[in-house]
Symmetry: D2
Subunit: 361 residues, 4 copies
């Protein structure tokens, strides 16, 4: 089955099959910015991935993403015997499909060297062929001239870093000094660097904190419930939903990383997300000693609260898109309620301190 | 396990167990009103149900309902050998639990006669014992004196109506004339009267269209996916979320019925719900011939559109809480898009005619 | 809806509704015995439970159980104001329904005292009313005269044992000496005593290891995926599927406890279950250095293997009803493969040591 | 991430990732034969599919298949601009992976012509390049010389057959006369030819009834619950689980097709499957008028029984891997119970007539 008629449909019109649906990823906007969801690291058969480029577009659209980068390896094409090297092929194939789906597709490539410097993604480029040359610094320079955002990938990958500890080598420091390094992956595929200093590196050098799938196989088989309800995404706080705004926000470091049931990002952004998602209701009952009220979590991220104040629950989980009923002792209750959010990481060893105001009458 | 300590917790404080969560039923408010969700027909062990009253409160809270009526049969207590008749017992047991959960609990009873008049619920009553007397009209009079809303239950139930055709008998006409009948069930348990004239009866006599579970067993085992994502509910369009507003709206007939993936209600209300839930986005692509845009359905009700206009898809399903991507031919497209919504019933044999404006630039 | 017609159906004929289905719990028989599944601790509205007795029968049938005991409290009826004490009521109501479903229903009661002696279930009794008297030893004597199996319930329940450490008090030792104590709960509701000495008490005194739900609410809402795929059950290795065989096996201590993804029981029984469920296939590939073969786990219990031998995987999870593919180094491989099964507990601090023979040609 | 180290693992050792599991498809063997499950029609990027060949092997292994054919189009390579034509590439890449997973991989190709003759799969070939020549009959002859089984694909595909009615054209009759046509697809992707004469064509000409996925995208996204619990498969009743036995059985026409919740095949095979899966238990209750007994369905195929005999239920659904409880009136009951199985098709307009013996004592 499926000859030219169907192919034209997919490539030119980009039609959906009857069952195709786009999920709405529920993560609120924050004051002044829309919250865009992106995956800035993925592969196809044009390097060592196992799918055709338009599969990546369909996956991203169904997953509710706003932006996607296909970043095939420049220096590594294991299927070369069957597929001749063409660093721009995935982009050429995927771009018209992405346009027909209103997905922001970034032209990208993964510069693939041994450590240091390791692997780096060049995003928002014009021509990946121009990055296929031996001198690493020349490659980065060529990418930067095309307007690229440079991301240092999986800095604690044990195949390149046997101790699993992310580090900035002199070459990275040199890149930073030139303004040629713009973000670091805090999360890659299944791997997080929570106990390391990636977030501090980003804070010190004003780089964006990034988190991506680095998918090679199929997204729906890589991230399965109950462990994962969605792929890891980089949240980008942009002025509007355009390629230009996305790029501006990434260079400005306005990002956070959402992986599994956790979030990582600087307090300025994750605190705003928390306040946009979590609201306490007016107490509906007051028996003199106790007050009863609801807290709603209007996001797909559960919130795991610990260290509650006197008079309120010490621990409280606010499941995604649900309401929790709270009883508090009004004799001790201080406003607003203060909690540590154990699944929102703000730095090496720190988590978000959040406040929940209760609208007492 | 579980002796006095736990019982006190459940009965007096109404505490949640650790895993209890309240689902948010996503059905938008309409201009001027909040959309309350209620189930106005349920049973406990105090007639022929199989659960203790506080189970009903917990179920309703977790299901995201705003209001619940427990309506045990007045004339039928098959467990009488073990449980002495006490028509107010379920109310006395459930009320403090409902208060601790911010659930609007209606005091109710089901007057249970052979047909005609069949079964009728008296809602918002003060004392169910006063309804236990032989003369039917005297019972209704007593209920009405207490402020009751009278609902004619499952009018096409084949055990009482072998042909399954709902009818108004002279006794019902007499009740209507006195203002003593205020609503009719269009949906009961698993049963709908779509092909009958219940909605026309309600329209002609200005009665509320009602839909309820009439649950005897356990809600979670009665309504299971994939057939059911929630129990049937009566949507009530009230000025605010209070018992008094709920009652005012029901007497004014501002209701609709949500069952399975369908909705039934007069166009005035279901049209407003549709417009509140469904929005088309600004087209993101225009190739001269075709325009491409998204339609979001921001509700838990899928919308099944048929009979589309020239230039647009003839059929279109908008899944719950999802986005659908649409391609239309701009040469033929007329604004707004017009569709029949096959799963929103507005009368006997009629469905909602809906319009979707596309914000062309 | 639902008046006499339906009730007769449920009580006399015990008919299923259209969607009722009985799950097959896949746990193999062992040589010489059938593996019966039972829950020997549950409550109804006749003590502090929240469901009518026939709900318990329907739940047990659908859950694939062979045997059920309803064990309402003798000394505790919090709903007494509404339901007069009748210790045999649940049995009288549930027995004809159980017969119509081929479920082995045990007449039972929970003797409910402060600690010591705490709570004890009397199972296989004739008359629960005869157990309602003050003198504890007289009560046990009366139960034993009726043929009762006596089970010491939740010995580490913190409401009675603030430190959560299960103990045998002198009264229990006295019962054991008389042959009046026959089993101890190792698992109750959500609670296990893995790090305590319950299994050693059972081993020393030749008592049956028991695990039950102690359910008060609704089974399907108490044990939900992904944490639980079924309620906790006591596996009983009986000569045949009859009440008499079940009783003989329990007195003989031929039991094991299956809760969540874990199993607890003496090596004699859990080892036999493991061997009945887990089989390696003939290697299908041998490249001189490596051999490749499948291992099937034909049970609903995943097997978590650790401490594998040289040449084979160190760790291996055999998911329920699935096949795992194994590669081993034939130069080092010794037969049979030896593993510790970390989720099969055989005593305080010990787990099952299992062997898997690989049928090398 | 994922450079040479990982690639070697996948290509040479064929290792599973940690979460990979092989599902057991529960369909019983029949007397004299093992029931093999195969999908004999699938595509990769080497024609118009969207995945790399080893993805197909992993999918088939996880889905519990015994056999798979990759059948890329000979005459149609829409990605030719990027991937030079190599008709044997998918086979060369997938074969070592299949060997490491114990999957029977068939070397195949889809001969892709306009209708007539339409599309035909050549299975069990040696060299697909030799099939790339203009003369259709020469191509089939070359395939047959290599030992090929020739399958006529999707004979009612509306792109080639606008009226959707499967037909044998003179060219097919010629193939049959030469023994060069061996099977016809009764099911393809989502499409069945239940109301047509495909099964009668197979019966008359002694051809195998086939059913396959013809997958181009990803299996897990093509067949999703609740509509599909597995991909369509051809059941092959073989003497043993080897390539040679599989081939012998297919040429002998010992097949059936399992798609969605339906089965299609000649009575000889589907009747044997039914008898192997469905068993009634000894009645456990007999009240003089009624007997009560269980029926187990030990397969993944639900059985939808209609037209039951007097004294027994008229309709009965036996869900997959479940037990159903049956009440029958012993005064009228004749042995064995006779039913039509509405979801087991045995010909054009006919379904299986099945018998269930009840082991009355």
């Amino acid at each position: 089955m499926k000859t030219k008629t169907l192919l034209i449909a997919i490539l030119i019109l980009g039609n959906l099959t009857l069952t195709a649906q786009r999920r709405v990823l529920n993560m609120p906007d924050i004051p002044g910015y829309v919250t865009l969801k992106g995956d800035f690291h993925s592969h196809t058969v044009f390097s060592d991935g196992m799918v055709w480029p338009n599969i990546r577009v369909g996956e991203a659209w169904r997953d509710g993403l706003d932006a996607l980068a296909i970043t095939d390896h420049i220096e590594y094409q294991p299927w070369k015997e069957y597929i001749p090297t063409d660093h721009n092929a995935a982009w050429k194939i995927a771009k018209p499909v992405a346009d027909a789906y209103n997905l922001i597709l970034l032209h990208g490539a993964e510069i693939t060297r041994s450590m240091p410097p390791g692997h780096l993604n060049a995003l928002f480029i014009q021509d990946a062929d121009s990055l296929d040359k031996p001198d690493f610094m020349k490659v980065i320079e060529a990418a930067v001239k095309q307007g690229a955002f440079i991301q240092y990938n999986h800095p604690g990958w044990t195949s390149q870093h046997p101790d699993g500890i992310p580090r900035l080598y002199p070459v990275h420091i040199e890149l930073i000094a030139k303004g040629w390094l713009n973000g670091i992956e805090y999360f890659n595929e299944y791997e997080t660097y929570r106990n390391a200093t990636v977030m501090e590196m980003c804070r010190e050098h004003k780089l964006a904190v990034m988190g991506n799938s680095d998918v090679h196989g199929v997204i729906s088989e890589t991230y399965m419930e109950p462990e994962y309800t969605h792929r890891p995404v980089t949240l980008v706080f942009a002025k509007e939903r355009t390629m230009e705004s996305l790029r501006e926000a990434m260079f400005a470091g306005r990002t956070a990383v959402w992986y599994g049931d956790s979030l990582a990002g600087f307090e300025q952004f994750t605190g705003a997300l928390f306040r946009a998602a979590v609201k306490a209701g007016v107490p509906y009952k007051d028996d003199g000693k106790n007050i009863f009220f609801d807290i709603i979590n209007n996001s797909d991220l559960p919130m795991k609260l610990t260290g509650g104040p006197e008079g309120a629950p010490k621990e409280l989980t606010l499941p995604a898109n649900m309401v929790v009923r709270v009883r508090a002792d009004r004799r001790y209750l201080k406003q607003p309620l203060t909690y540590s959010v154990s699944n929102i990481v703000t730095g090496s060893g720190t988590v978000l301190n959040a406040e929940i105001p209760v609208p007492l009458k």
